[in-house]
Structures are given as C-alpha cells and as structure tokens.
C-alpha cells in the first residue's frame, strides 16, 4: 500500500535554507557553550567510577545458596539445567552424605558467556538453591574458559574453577563461628584484584555435552 507522506509547506525563507541553517547552528552552539561552561547537567554517567544503583528486580551473576553446614542447598534435581534456554548450566550429581538428602551436586558449572541472564533457573529451583542477587554486573576474564565458573565460586565468590583450577580449601562455616566466610561472594576477594589467573582445566564431559547443542 502506498503511503502518503504529508510534507509541511515551507515558506520561501525556509526553502532557501540559509536562514534556517543559521538557526540550527545557533541551537547546536548553545548546547556546546552550555556544556563547555558547565558539565554538571550532562546525563552521562562515568560508569565504573560512578555505578548506577541497580533496579530492585535486577538479575546479576548467580550464586548458590549454602546450608548451615557449608554444603550447597542444591539437590541436583536438574530443574535449572532443564529450564535453561541457553543450556549454560551443567550439573554432575552424586550421592549425598546426609541421610535426609538424596543427592547433591558434585560439580555445578555455569558458562557465564552463554548465560542470557533470563532467571529461569531461579524460577525453576524447588530448593531456593540458586539466586541471581550478587549485584555483580561487570564480569571480566581473559579467556573464554575464565567464564565457566564452578561450584565453589558460585557459593563463595572464590574457589576452584575461576582462580586456581583445583578445588579450593573452603573453610566450612559453622553456626556461631566468628570467622565464617560470608555466604554471598565478597566483592573485593575474587573479581578485581588483578592477580594472574591460571588456565582452567575443563572437565571432559562439558565439551562433549556442549557439542550436541
């Protein structure tokens, strides 16, 4: 269907451009002069130095919630892995030590580069074991493998996969222990300290599984 565009009638002065051009130049110059003299009205936010407050319902990097005995709440039901549209979660289950829990996760890996931060894993979890409330939105790494984060990292913000490639000796927090590490990741600890990261060994099964996708 042809679309009829109504163009405004231009006066003679407007049709010879010159006066209108100078009017436009005046507008841009006003902005320029205003911003040279005083930059405080600019809406620009100098982001990393001036972080904007995150929305109440935002979704940031995942974390695994922890039981009082220091084990993840995850019971390896695979609901999140199934719900994940990006297929970025990979869980290997094992039998739990505790009598009232049948399974737990042996490894729990999230490829943060594949993750689309949709939050379906959080919705799918019947145990409230995974949440996206770390407030971490800047994720930095030098290799793709850096972004495949594992169980310890997701629980404590540091640990095996991201930093050293081998399981970290995580102190198991007990109730009443004054030195207990926080359950939410400590911002200063793992992310931006600039320490060189070693290469991470990718579990053999991970690659094999991801190829099918």
């Amino acid at each position: 269907m042809a679309l009829k565009v109504a163009s405004p009638k231009l006066s003679f002065l407007e049709r010879i451009y010159v006066a209108e051009v100078f009017r436009g130049l005046g507008v841009t110059f006003r902005h320029l002069a205003k911003n040279v003299v005083n930059q405080s009205d600019m809406p620009t936010v100098q982001f990393p130095e001036q972080p904007k407050p995150l929305a109440v319902r935002h979704r940031s990097r995942h974390r695994l919630t922890v039981r009082e005995n220091g084990q993840p709440k995850c019971v390896a039901c695979m609901c999140c892995e199934t719900a994940c549209p990006a297929r970025c979660i990979h869980i290997v289950a094992e039998e739990s030590d505790e009598v009232w829990i049948e399974k737990r996760c042996k490894t729990f890996e999230i490829d943060l580069l594949r993750c689309v931060f949709c939050g379906y894993c959080v919705e799918a979890c019947p145990e409230d074991a995974i949440r996206m409330d770390t407030d971490e939105v800047i994720l930095v790494g030098e290799r793709r493998e850096d972004f495949i984060v594992g169980r310890e990292f997701l629980m404590f913000g540091k640990g095996d996969d991201w930093k050293t490639g081998r399981p970290a000796e995580v102190a198991v927090p007990r109730p009443g222990d004054p030195e207990a590490p926080p359950a939410t990741p400590d911002e200063d600890a793992g992310w931006r300290d600039g320490a060189p990261r070693e290469r991470i060994k990718i579990p053999a099964g991970w690659r094999a599984n991801s190829k099918e996708v």
Binding site: V18, V21, G24, L25, V27, T28, F29, H31, L32, N35, V36, Q39, D41, M42, P43, T44, Q46, E49, Q50
Partner: protein, 431 residues
C-alpha cells in the same frame, strides 16, 4: 642570497606548509569528537590517558592512530591492485599539495631579501588550487573502480558525480571576487582585503565576504560538498550506504580518513584567505604591525598571562571533582598538572614581557614579529573555519541524492552565474 640559503628557505617553507595540515589533523579529529559530544550533551572521549593526563580526550586520537597503523593491512585478492594501492595516496597527496599556494603571512623583508610566506609562489594560485583539487576526484574514482566491487564502484560514481557538480559552482562563485581583485595571486587577494571602504565615519575592511556575500555563501556550501562533509557526505555516509572505500583497511583506510581532515584544513584556509582576509589582522596592516611590533607583542604576552591566570580558577573546582570521581587513580592529579602548566605560562609570559621591555623590538626582528603575528592570525581564522566545518556537520541532516543534485545544478549554479554577471556589470560600471 647564496643558493644554499635559498634552498634551505624553500625547504623550510615547504616543510612548514606540509606540517600545518598534518599537525592540525589530530586536533581536527579531536574537535570532531569533542564538539559533537558537547553539542549532543554528551561528555565525549575522556578515557585514554598518559600518566593520568587525558588532555580533554586528545590522547584518544593517538590511540586511534596506533590502532589504525597496527591493524592488518588487507589487500583483497579480487582488486585491481595498481589502482587500489594508488587511490589513497592520490587522495592524501592532492589534499596536501593544494595547501602549497596558501599565503600564511605577508612577504617577509629581511634586509634586501624578500621571503614569500608560501611554499609555492604562483601568480595563478587560484588556478593551481582548482586544478589540483579536481585531481582529488581521481582518488575516489580509482578507489571505487579498483576495489572491483559493485557497491564500491557505485559509491565512487556517486561521489565523483557530486564532486564534479559542485566544482562548477565552486569555481564560478569566486570568479566575482577575482574580477574585483583583478588578480589570481592569492597573496595579492589577501593584500587587497587589507584595504578599507568607508561607511560613514567607520572604516570597514574590504573582506571578500563583504564584497561578495552571495559568492561567499555559495563558495562555503560548495567547499563543504567538495570535502564530502555533512550535509553532503553521501560519498561516505558510513552508517547508511556503502561508499567507495569499503574494501580498504588499516593504514590505507586511515589515509582516506586523514585526507578528509587535511581537506577540511585546506578548505578552511581557502575560505579564510579568499573571504575573511587571510593573514590580515583586522585594522592593522603590515606596516603598522612592523612599526608597533613592540606594543603588539607586549599586549599578546599580557593577554596570555591574564587568560592563563583566569583559567587557573576553574582548575581548583575541577580538582575537587576529580578527587571525588577517581580517588584511586592517576587521573585525580590532572587538574593540578594543568594548573602547573598554566602557571608556567604565566611565568613565561611575564618573563617575555620583561625581556621585550629590556630589548625593544626594532628593525629585522620587528619584521619577523609582524610575520609571526600574521601567521597566528591566519591560524586563528583557519581553526575557526575548521570548527565551523565540524559545527555544520553536527547541525544539519544529510541531503538526499536528488536534493543534492537539485541544489547543486538548479540552485547554486544559476545563483553563482547571476552573481558573476552582476559583479561583472558593477566592475564595468565602476571603471
């Protein structure tokens, strides 16, 4: 003058003329970004730094050049190699060569020697500019044709059609001025603009823009089209259509990019020379300047000290802002750095005043001083028009291709011809 001295003077002039556009290049690119940012209420580039010194984003240009130089230089296998490699060099060379005839100060008399402040003194300087500038279209045609790609060649055709169309109005628009000046020598045209005509008791300098207002408007419009800048930047229009330099990468692309900015410099120099008095300091001709060199220099140094002193005040407030924004960063010292630089300016200016009071400027040094002041005036005008190019680009929307051709052939060409006839008639009447 011995031949060696003559040769070295010629080499010096040539070097100066080649250095001006190249040295202005980073400044122009910086202005393009920063001015556009401020016009859009953005902050613009402010990240790249050397030891915390960001210089308002100038360092970004350095980073840019490094990036472009270090990128892989790809020559696709399907191109016509000769034309493909030749095109960026033509674009760059042509822009630089045009600058050769621009006078940047009056003839400098040292003893018995007259040194012309042009790399190339031609009594047909205007013709040189048009003949060399029309070579510029070859760079574009070769780039479009040599890339051996249907989009490139369409872009090249579009660009060359535009440049050829606007070259007509460009040449016709200054014929009137040439008639009034009676010469094609650019230095003579500038000298003519130092004269006055009386409007009652007020003397008004005979600047080209006052003698030929219509010619000046047409010239400035056409020159924007010639340099392929907005609102006539259809040849590039990188965000919408494919232009003639799609296949270029790395330093070859950078040459086209640089040629655009050198073109702006040349065009600004031309506008300043032809229509805004070139190196003429308003109301001060060369003889007055030489006679009063002492006072002018003292005034300039005093002004410099004053401006620097005034600029130190905002750096104190800026220092607080930086300390709040970047507490753990080298950048927090930047305001202090500039305050020190400004202090050094003041010290230098005051020392200069002391020096020139003790040793008054006379004789040969007065001639040199006059030339330097004229050069600075010329550079000031050039920088203003360089800014105007950026200003126009970020104000106006782009023309559609048919509008572009309509404006060129149906609007500007008849107007330029009309201007020419009216001027010719007036010149005849006055004679």
């Amino acid at each position: 003058m011995s031949p060696v001295v003559e040769m070295s003077i010629a080499a010096g002039r040539a070097a100066l003329v080649w250095m001006i556009p190249l040295a202005l290049l980073p400044l122009m690119i910086w202005a393009e970004r920063k001015v556009s940012a401020y016009m859009h209420d953005r902050t613009g580039p402010n990240r790249a730094q050397i030891l915390g010194i960001r210089a308002g984003g100038v360092v970004h240009t350095l980073a840019d050049v490094l990036k472009l130089v270090m990128k892989e230089d790809i020559t696709p296998t399907h191109v016509h190699r000769f034309y493909f490699l030749l095109a960026p060099f033509i674009a760059m060379m042509v822009s630089l060569m045009t600058f050769a005839v621009i006078p940047f100060a009056d003839v400098l008399h040292l003893g018995d020697n007259a040194i012309r402040m042009q790399a190339l003194h031609l009594n047909v300087g205007v013709l040189w500019i048009f003949s060399i500038a029309s070579f510029g279209v070859f760079g574009i045609i070769f780039a479009g044709y040599g890339a051996n790609n249907k989009y490139s060649i369409l872009g090249g055709l579009r660009a060359s059609a535009q440049m050829i169309s606007y070259e007509l109005s460009l040449s016709l628009s200054i014929l009137g001025l040439i008639m009034m000046a009676g010469t094609l020598d650019l230095n003579e045209i500038v000298r003519m603009q130092g004269e006055f005509f009386q409007l009652g008791p007020i003397p008004i300098p005979k600047w080209g823009v006052l003698l030929q207002p219509l010619g000046a408007v047409i010239f400035m419009t056409a020159v924007i089209a010639e340099t392929n800048r907005n609102p006539f930047d259809l040849p590039e229009a990188e965000s919408e259509i494919v232009g003639y330099h799609v296949e270029y990468s790395s330093i070859k692309f950078a040459l086209f990019f640089m040629a655009e900015y050198v073109n702006i410099t040349v065009a600004s120099a031309l506008v300043a020379t032809l229509f805004f008095g070139g190196w003429q300091v308003p109301f001060l001709d060369t003889e007055t300047l030489i006679a009063n060199a002492q006072q002018v220099v003292l005034g300039m140094l005093g002004g410099m000290a004053l401006v620097s002193a005034l600029l130190i005040i905002p750096t104190r407030k800026w220092n607080k802002t930086l300390a709040r924004l970047y507490p753990n960063d080298l950048r927090k010292n930047e305001a202090n750095f500039w305050a020190i630089v400004l202090l050094l300016h003041i010290v230098g200016a005051l020392g200069g005043i002391g020096f020139f009071v003790a040793n008054p400027i006379t004789g040969t040094s007065a001639h040199v001083t006059a030339a330097v002041i004229q050069f600075l005036t010329f550079m000031g005008k050039l920088l203003f028009f360089g800014f105007a190019f950026v200003w126009v680009r970020w104000t106006l929307p782009r023309f559609r291709y048919d509008q572009l051709m309509g404006l060129g052939w149906k609007g500007m060409l008849p107007l330029a011809l009309l201007n020419l006839f009216v001027t010719a008639a007036l010149v005849l009447l006055v004679q």
